[in-house]
């Protein structure tokens, strides 16, 4: 009587996200968050800072005194607050994306019992 031998487990083929219909890529997620930070956050803050400089350049050409100094300070503070708020929005967005990613991996972990 012959004994049927089965081959061992197969090796995982390395798939890309494009090979799947449902899935998640941690590297892709990191790349995506990095790209969002660049365009949605960093570049916006850079544009905001450039706007502040341009605006105050024009203001300084026609106003002088303590009132102007205070206007400058308040305007600067408001721009910084906007930048800080956008940063908080980005951090919150990343937290949500990380949470979603964790769900995907947890789903994969619990799908088949050991």
């Amino acid at each position: 009587m012959s004994t049927t031998t089965f081959s061992g487990t197969t090796e995982q083929k390395s798939l890309t996200l494009n090979d799947l219909d449902i899935g998640i890529s941690s590297q892709g997620m990191e790349d995506y968050k990095k790209a969002l930070k660049t365009h949605l956050l960093d570049q916006t803050i850079t544009e905001l800072d450039a706007a502040y400089q341009e605006i105050m350049k024009v203001v300084n050409e026609g106003w002088q005194g303590v009132a102007r100094d205070r206007f400058d300070q308040k305007f600067n503070n408001t721009c910084k607050q906007i930048g800080d708020d956008l940063s908080l929005e980005y951090v919150d967005l990343c937290a949500r994306l990380d949470e979603m990613q964790a769900y995907y991996y947890e789903q994969d972990l619990k799908l088949i019992d050991e």
């Binding site: 892709g28 365009h39 544009e47 905001l48 024009v58 203001v59 005194g65 906007i82």
Partner: protein, 211 residues
């Protein structure tokens, strides 16, 4: 020949005249007490040294605003806010962004120029749609924050209005009321003491000649 030993008193009481004139003028002066310290500089409520360095208030010897430039300042704020808002709008519309980068909703380009979007991270149409919708909300919030900067444009207009109205108030209430403006005071002086130029019809000049 008889010497005329009889002297005549001048009919012009010069001391009385100047005392009366200065007294009348002094009684019409208002505001804080001002003492004259001729030769050492004018001593007023604010000491002013015209010799070495001028008194600076808050670090400035000159304060004020160019009224003509206020509309330019306001226009600059409005145009810059609009520019940044357009940049945010460009993220996601498959148009050329302000910095020349082609961006699509939720996408950016990497160094190689490849489009980077949410599909490189998630394979699920529903999830990608949800992520893009959330990013759109963040953009909307960012644009609302930027609109707060427009309040500074309104503030500039307010500053201009206050400068203009307060200057008018200074002219009437401090230098003179509406009935005693600088122009009215000038007329008052002329009526009381004659014109500024020497004139034979001037009372004091005519009286002087009699002496």
């Amino acid at each position: 020949m008889a010497w005329n030993a009889t002297t005549e008193a001048s009919t012009l009481d010069a001391a009385s005249f100047s005392t009366t004139a200065m007294g009348n003028r002094n009684s019409s002066r208002s505001g804080a007490a001002i003492t004259s310290n001729y030769g050492a500089g004018w001593e007023g409520p604010f000491s002013y040294n015209s010799g070495s360095t001028a008194q600076e208030f808050g670090g400035y010897s000159i304060v004020g605003i160019s009224v003509a430039r206020v509309p330019i300042m306001r226009q600059k704020i409005e145009s810059e806010v609009e520019r940044i808002q357009n940049y945010l709008n460009g993220i996601g519309q498959n148009t050329e962004g302000d910095n020349g980068t082609n961006v699509v909703l939720g996408t950016t380009q990497d160094a190689s120029g490849n489009i980077v979007d949410a599909t490189i991270a998630i394979k699920s149409p529903d999830m990608v749609k949800a992520i893009n919708g959330y990013i759109e909300s963040v953009k909307t919030y960012a644009k609302a924050l930027l609109s707060n900067l427009l309040a500074f444009a309104d503030k500039l207009q307010e500053v201009r209005n206050v400068w203009e109205s307060s200057t008018q108030n200074f002219a009437t209430s401090t230098i003179g009321s509406s009935t005693t403006s600088m122009a009215d005071n000038s007329t008052f002086y002329q009526q009381q003491y004659g014109s500024a130029t020497a004139d034979a019809s001037n009372t004091d000049a005519a009286a002087h000649e009699q002496v």
